[in-house]
Amino acid sequence: MPVDERERLILYEQKVLPHLDAAYNLARWLAGNDHDAQDVAQEASLRAFKFFGNFRGENARAWFLTIVRNTFYTWLRKNRPPEKTVEIDDETLDIEDISANLEAPSPPFADADAVRRAIAELPVEFREIVVLREMEGFSYKEIADLSDVPIGTVMSRLARARKLLQKRLAAEFNPGDQR
């Protein structure tokens, strides 16, 4: 193997592969199952290696996750009928704000399966933003760069995703109180 190839591999192992958990986690939440998530994460990892020469930035995790995201959407177009994407249609998203009606303050919802179900039911853009913001802790700016949308869109998606989740979690945990 030529020297520069080997160097690239070593750097890739040091800078990119440590974020494989983050890559798989994002792919897993987007794709919805382990099999597809592994395919997406594997392909993204190989693409990341291929394009690693172009990586100049500081934040390898954000860079890697951008590739995972793009790989996922390419894969999605090829493999699945269009998921009902939430075109920001304020009619359907006019979500009743129930948050203020809930009892406060409370411990986190601890039933992980129920929380997983609630997240899994979200439209794909909302799952994406929940992972990037709440699980990965990226800033609005980083998410905007990563998903190639304006910051305003990041903020409105995040607020809506949270409202939907709060609504679903409230329904899961207090079935009597809702609907």
């Binding site: 592969l17 440590p18 958990d21 594997q42 990965e136």
Partner: protein
Amino acid sequence: MNCQQAKPLIDPYADGELEAAAVLELEKHLQSCSACASAWRNLQRLQKTLKQDALYFTAPDELRRRIKSELPFPAEAVPLRHAWNWLTAVMSGAAACLALLLAVTLTRPSSEQPLAQEIVSSHIRSLMANHVMDVVSTDQHTVKPWFNGKLDFSPPVKNLAAQEFPLIGGRLDYIGGRGVAALIFQRHKHVINLFIWPAREKDSQPASLTPIQGYNIIHWCDAGTTFWAVSDLNEKELMEFVQDYGSH
């Protein structure tokens, strides 16, 4: 500020993305409006819920194997015979661990970056919102019991007045999806926030991180407790503080 103005600010506030002036206004509103305060608490609850480790999928070993098998791995890691497969896999795993460990020790992993950023934001917010302290006392025997019942652990509280880092109070804060103790110390006009919570990480020596927005940050872990000191104090004096704290 009224509710209509406050509502859209609650999300950015929770994410540490609200500008200073608006933070002040919003906090004033949250103190007087129970509906908005309740929305804020519910958002915190949701954030805590989503940060649970149980929701984070870690990469299966199978995926790691698949990726490694596709990459042009260094010749010495290529198995020559079947019997060597296992051993070489272990060896290259160990080498990768070592490399990672070195990288961690030398540069600090980027996984700490969001946390460090959160800590700096919290430090700044505590100064800007004029909300440095919930309990004002230079006596560790007042500050320590004050945390009882407010946290699920009891933070070690020390006064370093003799070392010219007087304790000036304590505060409850919220970092990385959990309630944490913040102790406030002072040197001259510089405020030091020391964030403390129980951690799953291994013990580590105090290490300076790359400063964020001009604030120095030192992190260490001792006996299952994680410590983050942040201040605009220069790095040398902040390290003195950390060492004095560790030795008393």
